[in-house]
Assembly symmetry: C2
Homo-oligomer: 96 residues x 2
């Protein structure tokens, strides 16, 4: 399933930058970084349980937030990109 | 329909900060800012055409990007929030 993950963190502090790097690293195991703090992850339900657990350990829950959007099976129909930076489809097709 | 809008812009420059403020202002006419550069907008197809046009005029398409996710009618089932900052449902219910 496709899960869109958005992460709100202040990157003005070193701690925030570090947390963003760690969240990105976890997400990139399952998909791609489409914007600075937006990730599209293609996961099985078991992988999602594991990834979610890891992400929620990395963040500072008092100051940061994660938001998950479950885009379902037909997620490619749901996405449109405008402006800088092409991105790739983790299932192998280019999505501009 | 619910459109999730994510905006990637460098806010290190004054120009970037100004563009983010303007994009936020447009989006807030139709919904809410759920994270610093993530907006959930509840629009009719005609409103969407208008909003999309305005957003794409505001951004610097060489350096910034907008990404749109069309979450459909059952969008509330698709969203989960973790960590700081509660947010509200533009249809009137609280979504945590």
């Amino acid at each position: 399933m496709m899960v869109l993950i958005t992460y709100d963190v202040s990157t003005e502090s070193e701690g925030g930058k570090r947390r963003l790097r760690r969240v990105a690293r976890q997400c990139e195991n399952f998909g791609q970084r489409v914007q600075n703090s937006v990730f599209e992850c293609l996961v099985t339900p078991a992988q999602w349980t594991d990834l979610k657990h890891k992400l929620e350990k990395e963040i500072d829950q008092e100051h940061d937030s994660l938001r998950y959007y479950f885009l379902g099976a037909n997620w490619e129909r749901r996405v449109e990109h405008v402006g800088a930076k092409e991105t790739y489809n983790p299932q192998g097709l280019i999505v501009l």
